[in-house]
């Protein structure tokens, strides 16, 4: 292979490599997390198949308003983090920090609503040991809540680093890693909400 053709090949391969947001490490983490959620969804499905009447009655006892509000909040937070990425790509650091702040606020609102939902459940006499449906409901939603908390802690750290000037239009891989992780949290909820709250 001539040097010229090798150079052309490298040039054509370079943009493809750059088009992957974040590092390979974060994608390994994202696939691992999504596999974990997939396993939980399958466990839910198999348990439901063995307890159809119990699971058919389950969603009607849940706080649909809390589930819907949290879905709207998470979807909006994904939009905010996407805008933060656009802002840093244009070197608009202040705008990026504003959007990241909004994303963190959405995460905090999600946690607040989840807390209210759990308290509401307590008032209705719903506990993790009430029946198999609620055991899985608590297991899935609490596990997701932990991911939101980890995502929020990551975004707070990344906001601080952006404020300190660690990221700009050319170098923002760390920010992309956090944004991709946050989107993953949203993707897991996109399946979890209809599965548990709507279809039962």
């Amino acid at each position: 292979m001539s040097t010229a053709s090798l150079a052309t090949e490298i040039d054509s391969a370079a943009p493809r490599h750059r088009s992957v947001p974040g590092s390979i490490a974060v994608w390994v983490l994202i696939y691992a997390e999504l596999s974990e959620f997939a396993l939980f969804f399958l466990v839910y499905l198999v348990t439901r198949a063995h307890n159809t009447e119990l699971f058919a009655a389950g969603p009607a006892q849940l706080n649909i308003l809390a589930g819907t509000l949290n879905t709207l909040i998470l979807v909006s937070s994904s939009f905010c983090v996407a805008r933060a990425m656009k802002a840093i790509q244009r070197n608009e650091r202040r705008a990026c920090i504003r959007w990241l702040g909004l994303t963190i606020a959405c995460g905090a609102a999600y946690c607040g609503i989840k807390g209210w939902e759990y308290l509401w459940n307590e008032a209705q006499g719903i506990h993790a040991r009430s029946n198999l449906f609620f055991t899985l409901y608590y297991y899935l939603t609490f596990n997701h809540l932990l991911h939101v908390l980890v995502g929020m802690a990551t975004l707070i750290w990344l906001t601080l680093r952006t404020w300190l000037g660690s990221y700009d239009a050319e170098d923002h891989e760390g920010l992309e890693n956090g944004a991709c992780y946050w989107h993953m949290i949203d993707l897991a909820w996109i399946i979890l909400f209809p599965l548990v709250y709507v279809m039962g």
Partner: protein, 92 residues
């Protein structure tokens, strides 16, 4: 057609509200289960392609993400629509 991130967000909100309306109106019939599963696939694709901006990314990254929704949701739909079949399959 190129969907902007703002339009994608609006569409995601609309689909979520429609799903909530279905949840409030009562039991999920087979038709509604299929509709909701299709809506989830659409929501997943919007987040992956538009908000995560993976549409132009390397296919080794984008394909598994899309496959998660295109494989998982039909599997969930089958499990929800034919629980007796799944029960037989998973009984020791």
């Amino acid at each position: 057609m190129k969907i902007t991130d703002t339009n994608s967000w609006r569409l995601l909100i609309l689909i979520t509200l429609a799903s909530a309306l279905i949840a409030e109106t009562g039991g999920a019939t087979p038709g509604l289960i299929l509709l909701i599963c299709a809506a989830v696939v659409l929501k997943g694709q919007l987040v992956i392609d538009v908000l995560m901006a993976l549409r132009t990314s390397h296919r080794a990254i984008r394909a598994p993400m899309l496959a998660y929704f295109y494989v998982m949701m039909p599997l969930l739909a089958l499990g929800l629509l034919f629980p007796e079949w799944l029960e037989r399959l998973t009984t020791l």
